[in-house]
Symmetry: C2
Subunit: 314 residues, 2 copies
Amino acid sequence: MSVFTPVTAREVELWLQDYSVGTLVELQGIAGGVENTNYFVTTTLGRYVLTLFERLERADLPFYLHLMAHLARHGIPCPAPIANRDNEYLGTLKDKPAVLVTRLPGISVETPDAARCAATGAMLAHLHLAGRSYGRPLANPRGPRWWRDTAARVAPFLEADDAALLREELRFQSLYRLPDAPRGVVHGDLFRDNVLFEDGRIGGVIDFYFAGHDVLLFDVAVTVNDWCIEADGRLDEARALALLRAYHAVRPLTALERGAWPVMLRAAALRFWLSRLEDFHLPRAGEMVLVKDPRHFRDMLRLRSAATRLPWPG
Amino acid sequence: MSVFTPVTAREVELWLQDYSVGTLVELQGIAGGVENTNYFVTTTLGRYVLTLFERLERADLPFYLHLMAHLARHGIPCPAPIANRDNEYLGTLKDKPAVLVTRLPGISVETPDAARCAATGAMLAHLHLAGRSYGRPLANPRGPRWWRDTAARVAPFLEADDAALLREELRFQSLYRLPDAPRGVVHGDLFRDNVLFEDGRIGGVIDFYFAGHDVLLFDVAVTVNDWCIEADGRLDEARALALLRAYHAVRPLTALERGAWPVMLRAAALRFWLSRLEDFHLPRAGEMVLVKDPRHFRDMLRLRSAATRLPWPG
């Protein structure tokens, strides 16, 4: 949960003197999020979110902040970092790296219909296209190397059949590196709680702190695996097709991507199974994370591996 | 009026394919504004304003667009230009330089109270401070050189006493170049119709196409001369003090500026008297500008020159 480092209104008032956002009107801690401390900051000139980074390395933060600035200036409704009087996005508050970003309108939708899945698919394609002109490099921090490292660390805690499934999936995935698949900036975590809707339209896309460079289709698979499923993890064909068709209309999917789709859906399930296993068996000290059941993604991985027919546009 | 160059929904749809803002939902011409063609553009991902430039040189536009981008990323609620797939702000539509900027909420207020004057004063000070880290140079295009050039062009149309007033004011102003006064980026045209309020708070500051580098206090004077006056042009002390105090609280005004205040109020009246005279006597061909009475600013100049007591904070 998300006020790991409490700050007072007075501390924020002083800190805001380095910014051109007016003076503090209201400060409100945000519940939700498992990585950082977040506050809603309302000033005389606007509505912002203050984030104090609890996990990420300071050196990695410019990638994320400049990415959000880049996407925002391309029209993607994502949080735009605010520069301070020194023209810097990244500041320090309570000895933590800290940033002020714009606050976006809307709320997340737990049971999105096909229209919202389509809106999300189109937005993701726009995000991928806008990301093409983003210059800073950062490999997806939750990519294949992290899969292998994490698998090694969680393996001792697993039952034999889960360990076998994990081993087998890593072997399977290692056969598909897809050097020719379209790559670029991926959001990496476009779950339903990271898209805000307002009057049926997307008001915001948030939480870019798992972004990086990777196969674009992997990002689509992560999204479909959260947005277009039944409670048991099975794909809902109507919503999956709505999302994929809307994506395809903006960034046409290639024949190579069509071939890689089953692999990517499995890779996306694997990636979140691993992080759930890590959170479950190897929680970080002092964390107050609501640990989610890893079995959701294990079962999803089994379903995707066994699926004989997967929705695909066109 | 402001649709000099009509564009169709189909033309905008095609043009938007170079952007990451989704697809067109609604296109609506904007009445108001005398320089450019403006449309409200609503897409599946946001609300924008499309501007086709009718007067400004293409080479000058990057100054304005990057200024707005700079101020927006500092938290000033001004239109932020949207970059296209080539990562450029400036495009071409119907053979005109064209830009898409974010649309801001709120409406302008014709008879602002002291609270709104104060909000505007504070925002202007924040704008001046945020402008300090903006690197591109452009002298105020409506500065002293333009005063002299324009005065020479309109002089033949003036009655003798107006001509004498103008001559005398140019002479007076030439005595005060204020090399040590704080300078920086000025908005240059912060009239009431260029600030949008929403629920009593500033939702937007618009129309930066008269911005440039100049004495900051000149910008304050332009603002006070429009926001804090009676119908006859006389200053309203309560509103002027509210604006100045709020400005002073953010960017403290100096003793030198205190001394220059009467000169700057006259300079601001002169600048707009001249542009009104130019619009009145030398309208550009094909323009559909609502010509405003130049006498408002002539009378204001007389009032400011004769004033023995001018509001000042502290």
